[in-house]
Symmetry: C2
Subunit: 208 residues, 2 copies
């Protein structure tokens, strides 16, 4: 079982390699990746060693090969159908975010319990459905991932509901901590944590 | 100088302690914090040791005291005025996010280069200004942090512009990597990285 922090770092290595690829860099090293990301080279080597031998000591890694391997590991070679639960301000922004499709994530449906929103389009191809339609739409569209953008107080109940209807992974944007069965994956997104890191750095730099 | 990964963890410890406080927990330990967050207790102790003695071996930490200390360290005792640059879908969602004010971040203005948006309100109290007004509004409102929600191709130029007008810290939501002077802080937010961690966990659990 790969530790969760390692998985997170693998996704960040993958993004780093994608940028190197864009810049037409053919070879890289754990030192270079570590330098770019501000972490230790030994950490990079340790993480990659879980998955076998990619690089040669002194020669480094082939960017294409390593990027392809990370894609495989991260399950990026398949595309994923996604549902947005909670078609409010944030749900709307996410439905219209082109970065998702580029990365193999297709928003196929949105759900909301506000009658006024049902039947409207959240983005060009994505309709807003009522919660009662969850099971049918999840099943017909093989949706495995739900993006949770409902208010915090609805988070736990809505999570339990979508899991019951077939969802296997939840990207939780609410400030609530949700509790799910062991075989269900959850990722929490909280950009306020990033804002706080920013204020710390600012305080540090300017001794507030 | 505190390593960046440590700063990030401190912000996450703070959030964890805030939840313990909500649940009326008075005492905690590095083991409990570590267990909740899925990291090593030794990591928690090491991070907190940068800032002095908080806990007693065998007795643990006082939740209130530790939470207060982390608030201080993270610069959370002060409130911060924030500007949103790029009043589009995502900028709109963020301007309307009540979680910001609760955490001491006040959105005081938004900026955009789309003439049709100038003069409109992005949220109840926040007006959209033209880019030419940056300097005056940043100065009059003591704005130190900019939330960058412009398209990727505009990110670097817009960053340089707001820094020139007085911004000290940037929360970058664009997929572009921005380059800034050494005394300016940047935090990158990319929830697609979290989606990829999710797919890895799903692939791992269901051997896709
Ligand atoms: N807006 C942001 O930038 C931002 C940032 C970080 C976190 N968040 C969090 O994301 C969530 C959504 O934020 P928002 O600004 O889009 O809020 P919002 O109020 O605009 O949207 C919430 C939507 O969820 C729907 N809803 C409410 N209860 C529901 C239920 N039981 N079942 C189905 N749908 C339900 C509402 O009808 C509404 O359309 C909140 O938890 C918020 O704290 C938002
Ligand atoms: N929508 C999301 O959920 C999401 C998620 C992650 C990242 N992002 C990123 O956030 C950014 C904004 O996304 P969005 O969906 O809100 O896009 P959007 O197109 O709706 O909004 C962009 C806004 O920026 C303005 N703008 C463009 N160039 C500008 C310039 N030079 N100066 C000032 N304003 C300018 C536009 O007029 C528009 O109002 C993009 O970089 C996107 O990749 C969005």
């Amino acid at each position: 079982k790969i530790p969760k922090p390692t998985v997170k770092r693998l996704a960040i290595y993958y993004r780093c390699l994608a940028k190197l690829k864009e810049d037409n860099v053919e070879k890289t090293s754990s030192q270079e990746i570590a330098y770019i990301l501000g972490i230790k080279a030994s950490q990079v080597r340790k993480d990659l060693s879980y998955f076998g031998e990619f690089g040669k000591r002194g020669v480094g890694y082939d960017v294409d090969k390593l990027s392809f391997k990370l894609r495989e590991i991260l399950g990026l070679n398949k595309s994923w159908n996604v549902a947005i639960i909670g078609a409010g301000n944030l749900g709307n922004a996410i439905a219209n975010y082109s970065g998702l499709e580029k990365n193999g994530f297709r928003v196929v449906a949105a759900f909301d319990n506000d009658e006024k929103k049902i039947g409207k389009y959240i983005s060009t191809n994505v309709k807003i459905y009522k919660m009662e339609d969850l099971e049918e739409i999840i099943r017909d569209n093989l949706i495995e991932i739900a993006i949770l953008t409902v208010p915090a107080q609805a988070a736990q109940n809505v999570s339990e509901l979508v899991i019951k209807k077939g969802i296997k992974g939840i990207l939780n944007f609410t400030p609530a901590t949700i509790t799910v069965p062991l075989n269900i994956s959850v990722e929490n997104v909280d950009f306020v944590v990033s804002l706080k890191s920013l204020t710390f750095a600012l305080g540090f730099l300017f001794e507030k």
